[in-house]
Amino acid sequence: MAAVIPLLETESLGKRFGGLAAVNGVSLRVAEGEIRAVIGPNGAGKTTLVGMICGRLEPTSGRVRYGGRDITALRPWERLRQGIVYTFQVTSVFRGLSCYENVALPAQRRLMRGLAGRLALRESAIAERVQAALEAVGIADLAAQRADALAYGHQRLLELAMALATEPRILILDEPTQGLAEGEIERLCGLVRDIARRATVLLIEHNMPVVLALAGRVTVMDSGEIIAEGSPAEIERDPAVQRAYLGR
């Protein structure tokens, strides 16, 4: 295990906003193929951490490595092209566009290689990918609907379809179950397991039953630092975690 290069690795990653250290010296290693959960109380720095991984935020210190290569300086669109895909905590679909168009934008990304690829791109090839992504999350029948007309749960699924259409190698899900009903959460869990067969999943989640059901390993953050890491069972037992997070 130690000899294997992790798919994703952060090295003493830090982010300061003025005087506040939102993330402080975080070293995280995620192996290819695992479902890794990151948990922690509000303000623990989880979203800031993954923001630096996907390139939304620039770190103030430390490095990010991906497949052994240093990607700290890569811009967000370059990271996406290498397979690092982020889904938003608050759904960030294109509200004024149809579901089809929402998914077509990420779907055509992989097909747009070079100038020839851009000009000769066939809409049918894009449509196929859109259909597949919408089917995977189960909203193919809503393709023509405008995104802002969708129920909240469906918007989250659309967000997920957009991520799938980019063919992620590592998918970062930022609180995907937030605001979902019980049945929708179950469905989402099935979906995440399905995605994990093809991609590594980094899951930020508040809902402990979901974390325990999905994650192979759990990383616990508090006040911008990692305070524990282990299997779900170990994390449940860890006294430091219970104090900081589980409130027992």
């Binding site: 669109w77 509200r95 566009l97 809409e123 393709a143």
Partner: protein, 320 residues
Amino acid sequence: MSARAPLKVLALHAAVLALLFAAQFALPPYHHTNVARIMVLAAYAIGYNVLLGYTGLMSLGHAMFFAAGMYGAGLPVYYLGVGAAGALGAGLAAGVVLAALFGLLALRTTGVAFLIVSLMFAQAFYLASLYFNEVTLGDQGFILSQRLAPLQAGGATLGFHEPAVKYNGALLLFAACLLVSLALRASPIGRVLIGIRENEERTRLLGYDSFRYKLLSLTISGGLAAAAGAMYALLFSYVGSTFASILFSIYPLLWTLLGGVGTTLGPLLGTGLMFYLVDLASGVTSAYLLAVGVALVLLVLWFPLGILGTVRARWLPWLP
């Protein structure tokens, strides 16, 4: 819109062009010239709409691209006796280069800041065209008709003063700009531009370098505006600084808003209606610009989608 450009979209645009072609045989001379002018100005508005309607960037400086095309075409004719084709090419090139350079600097900003920066650049361009009066003949303007060689087509000689040449030259330009705009809208690149318009950060996180796409859009937009400026100079024979003034930056905004921002045919409709509104108003009062101002206020407050935008929202969702 799952197919690239559905048949009915192509049919609609072909029908509009056919109607414009046929109209030249029916229109009385006064309106014949007006429609020719409207088509050239609509081509300008189409260029503006690429940036505002399909990319979400509002500029108040497009007059500099229109005027760059105008001077780029007019000065070589005036000083070097260049022919019509060369002049058009030079005008287009001047606009494209100016738009690309402007974009490299100005696209660091967005929203209101971009609006202001574009206004400032355009004012600088306008004042420069007056300052270098000895070369540009800016304040007086200059006439091309004595210097521009007529077109030779087969055995026929086609002078630019002939109404048929004006009309069909304008139609050709308009058709070309309309097709560029339609093709862009229906292409994967157009989809990225619309993504930027709707939510730029999201688009970046879906793998697109938004700066490059905005620069491309601005360059196309400036190029179309310059092509219109160049054609305007050739067909209507006049080049002058007034076309670089702020009013000519406001016009395409107004035409686009009226016809429908982000619709391919909106610029034509808006330009035509506004042209005749100003025409009517100037027959009644010398304060015809008041009509322009009032129209702008009414549009922004109560009619933000414009005519074709409203038609699309209510009845024809397939309208591009």
